[in-house]
């Protein structure tokens, strides 16, 4: 079913655009291609529409500078012209970085770099990094995740094998930055789960607000996914 299409876009979703849902983002690009006068392959069937597919759905409220979408361009147009033409007709916050021939199948996408900003309204508490280290420097960290499928109402999940790398640094005033590389597919670790786990374990260090941003995507061997 997951057929690979020939062309890809790498694009950013930041600012006001982070509130646009996954489905709305697809509709937005379908229209943007038509506005840009770029013809792309349309689905067959009764309700034909321009076809696009996004590699990894992005949660509402998360920003990203490494989104990937695929499609089949039918217009005879040099790929390097595509970003400019699309950017002229895209809403604020959505910006195409690059258009290229697809290389790696979506299923090989394995890891994501996240930049997570922890905001503390009353100043950053001491010892956040140590607390993280204490939580993650263990052979296994099994947590319960709510699940509708399971009879018990939750499933058990070990976070450790899905965290490849992490470090914390001070950022702007009253904020810390957690940079981490997490599993992205089969299985994937939503960074929100990681931060919820932290906040539950260390309530005194729970941030008042957290921003999530995707920075880069990788293959299993650590090469960038393209």
């Amino acid at each position: 079913m997951a057929q690979m299409h020939r062309h890809r876009l790498r694009y950013e979703k930041t600012g006001r655009a982070i509130y646009i849902s996954h489905l709305d983002t697809m509709a937005l690009f379908q229209r943007a291609f038509l506005r840009a006068g770029l013809s792309i392959w349309q689905t067959e069937g009764f309700n034909r529409h321009a076809y696009v597919s996004i590699a990894l759905p992005l949660s509402v409220g998360f920003s990203s500078v490494c989104e990937v979408m695929e499609f089949d361009l039918e217009s005879e147009v040099p790929l390097e012209e595509v970003p400019e033409r699309l950017n002229a007709v895209l809403p604020e916050g959505v910006r195409v970085l690059e258009c290229y021939e697809a290389r790696d199948p979506f299923k090989l996408l394995r890891m994501l770099d996240w930049q997570i900003t922890l905001e503390y309204d009353n100043g950053v508490p001491d010892g956040v990094e140590e607390a993280f280290r204490k939580m993650l420097d263990v052979p296994g960290l099994v947590i319960q995740k709510p699940s509708k499928k399971s009879k018990k109402g939750f499933t058990e999940l070990d976070l450790i094998p899905m965290i490849f790398d992490w470090h914390i640094e001070p950022a702007e005033e009253r904020t810390l930055r957690l940079n981490c590389r997490l599993a992205a597919q089969n299985p994937s670790l939503n960074p929100q789960l990681l931060l919820e786990t932290f906040s539950e374990r260390c309530p005194s260090m729970a941030p008042d607000f957290i921003r999530y941003r995707r920075k880069e995507i990788y293959l299993e061997n650590g090469e960038k996914f393209r």
């Binding site: 646009i20 849902s21 379908q30 229209r31 038509l34 506005r35 034909r48 321009a50 607000f209």
Partner: protein
């Protein structure tokens, strides 16, 4: 963006409707702007962004030098709670600035149940609710739309009502304001001057007195203020602004497609229909212009769906020519063209097939009443034979679902008329049995009834509404009559909302305090069943000393001074009364094309006839002369 808002947006449903930043949203340099207008739609983003009128006025205002029109919608309950908690005043989507600092706040009033939202939005904005509380630094609150024809229930809250089509009068109102500021006039001066602009009604300049029985005794304009305000219309729709380049929402809205308005007005004269009278005279656009605008709209939007809109699209004379032209562009690009508002008496399967809808299985018709006698009374000139022909075409073409819309509680309706609906549905069923090309699939005939609400500026503006109990009795009667046939599904509207609508539609300005009370007791988003509370409405109206039944149940004599008597939509009240009398005799009035009955609306036209498409060459000539 306000950092508090960033946190809130992650806690509310569908945050994209609160952020703006859509493609084609207009951003201006504040240094080059001297007049800021907040176009407020008193319902959610998804509803408001589907409104063509708003898109037209947004475009027109933003083309004006020095003017920046921005948008604002009613927040859903979760967002409102967050805004109140964090003390964030209502802001405009484009700039994010609080609208209380704007020069104008404009509301589009399409539905009576949005009235509490008007108050709620003013309150959320931090603007004083009542016109008399507003000072020099407060925005001018204006309102337009269909409900503005009788805006009296909102007279306490609205500084200026704009009557009719806003294309021209809106810029006149803003230009006057810009002059007014240069000349250093105050608010009161401005409002008095504005009242001189045709189509602008300033309710605070009219004094209304009442008789002991509660009816209006007199409507007295202040000196120099026009006693009657006549609605405005666009003379030439082809030359008028059309929003080809319009905002493309980044989140799904109700009508998420290109909307192409083919004409304004209606030739039909259905006696219950407010739009049919208020939007007269009939002004078609030329097919050439529509074709050009339709194609450009698709190109600039990227939509793969287009719909033709009007009150009765199958009455557009060059409809087939227009569809052929549009399909020539749409078909190769897989753009779906849809044509709603088709009538049973001129339904064409040939057209349906051309629209690639041969595979569409469900068709909707609105006979409105169950017997010919009652259809004649309401002047819905559709016969049973028309409906049967249309259904035959549908069923032969493979359709297996028909929806039939009716009203209960129409003037002169008897049980025979109610049972006539069941009869008609049964005949449609037999029609299917006889004509269905493929019967194994079965058929679904959906009968829907709504509760008739008498509206101002219609021949039924003097009529009482039947009681809710009587409506329910007629619903039960009909339900029993159709229940033996499992292929007929009956849906009926609850009468509560229609009862409140009936109060407000023909209300006077005393109802302002009642609406305020409803809002103070928590009323808002009343068009949504999860928010609407019937008892809150009735209790609030009574608590300010008014009787709901006075507005709903009373038959008005012709001599009575109606609360909206200072407004003219062009159609003479004497014409409406004549139509009312014809209704009681079940005498039909031919449509405007068969014979002009002299309703009076054509007097609004300057250089052309009602329902006339001027050929481009003729237009060039008249303009050359002008």
């Amino acid at each position: 963006m306000d950092p508090r808002l960033e946190r809130i947006l992650l806690r509310v449903q569908k945050p994209a409707r609160y952020t703006g930043g859509e493609y084609h949203a207009v951003i201006k340099d504040k240094n080059e702007v001297n007049t800021r207008f907040a176009f407020c739609f008193p319902d959610t983003y998804e509803i408001g962004m589907s409104n063509l009128g708003m898109r037209i006025l947004y475009g027109i205002m933003n083309e004006m030098e020095g003017v920046w029109c921005e948008r604002c919608f009613a927040p859903w309950g979760d967002m409102e709670a967050e805004m109140r908690q964090a003390n964030i005043p209502l802001w405009a989507l484009e700039s994010g600035d609080p609208i209380r600092d704007f020069d104008f706040i404009g509301f589009s009033l399409g539905y009576e149940m949005a009235y509490t939202n008007v108050l709620n939005m003013l309150d959320l904005a931090g603007v004083p609710l009542h016109t008399w509380e507003r000072g020099e630094d407060d925005p001018i609150v204006v309102a337009g739309g269909t409900c503005a024809y009788n805006g009296e229930p909102l007279a306490d809250f609205v500084d200026i009502f704009s009557l009719g089509e806003g294309e021209n009068v809106t810029s006149e109102m803003l230009e006057l304001y810009q002059n007014c500021r240069q000349e250093g006039w105050n608010r009161a001066d401005y409002l008095r001057k504005a009242a001189q602009i045709p189509g602008l009604y300033v309710p605070s300049l009219y004094q209304v007195t009442y008789n002991e029985d509660g009816t209006v005794a007199a409507i007295t304009p202040e000196e120099g203020v026009p006693p009657v305000v006549t609605k405005r219309i666009v003379q030439d729709l082809d030359q008028s602004y059309f929003p080809i380049k319009t905002i493309i929402p980044s989140t799904e809205i109700v009508h998420d497609r290109v909307m192409l308005e083919v004409f304004r007005g209606c030739i039909r004269g259905c006696r219950f229909c407010q739009a049919g009278y208020c939007y007269r005279p009939v002004r078609p656009k030329s097919p050439d212009k529509l074709l050009e605008q339709g194609i450009e709209s698709c190109k600039l939007s990227g939509y793969q769906e287009m719909t033709l809109s009007s009150l009765s699209t199958s009455d557009y004379r060059p409809l087939e020519q227009l569809c052929d032209g549009l399909l020539g562009y749409c078909e190769p690009r897989n753009i779906n063209l849809s044509v709603p508002s088709l009538r049973a008496d001129n339904f064409s399967m040939a057209l349906e097939q051309r629209l690639q809808r041969a595979r569409k299985s469900s068709f909707t018709f609105a006979p409105e009443a169950g017997t010919q006698r009652l259809r004649d009374t309401i002047n819905k000139n559709v016969t049973e034979a028309d409906l049967m022909n249309a259904c035959k075409t549908v069923f032969e073409g493979g359709g297996n679902a028909v929806k039939l819309y009716f009203m209960l509680g129409l003037p002169t309706e008897t049980d025979e008329d109610v049972l006539g609906i069941a009869d008609l549905a049964q005949k449609v069923y037999l029609n299917w049995k006889q004509n269905a090309s493929y019967r194994a699939r079965g058929v679904r005939i959906t009968v829907s009834t709504s509760f008739f609400v008498p509206k101002p500026f219609t021949p039924f503006q003097w009529e009482p509404q039947i009681t809710m109990e009587e409506y329910q009795r007629r619903v039960d009667l009909l339900r029993n009559a159709v229940k033996s046939n499992k292929s007929i599904i009956y849906d009926w509207h609850d009468p509560d909302t229609s009862y409140v609508e009936a109060i407000l539609a023909r209300g006077d300005r005393r109802l302002g305090s009642a609406i305020e009370e409803v809002w103070r007791r928590g009323g808002r988003l009343d068009a949504w069943s999860e928010y609407f509370d019937f008892d809150r409405w009735i209790d609030s109206i009574r608590s300010v000393g008014l009787d709901p039944e006075f507005y709903v149940r009373r038959e008005r004599p012709y001599e009575e001074l109606l609360p909206w008597s200072m407004i003219s939509v062009g159609v003479r009240p004497s014409y409406l009364w004549r139509e009312r009398n014809q209704a009681y005799k079940s005498v039909v009035t031919p449509d405007c094309r068969k014979q002009c009955m002299g309703c009076g609306a054509d007097r609004l036209l300057c250089d052309r006839k009602c329902d006339e498409i001027l050929p481009i060459s003729a237009r060039a000539r008249t303009e050359g002369e002008g």
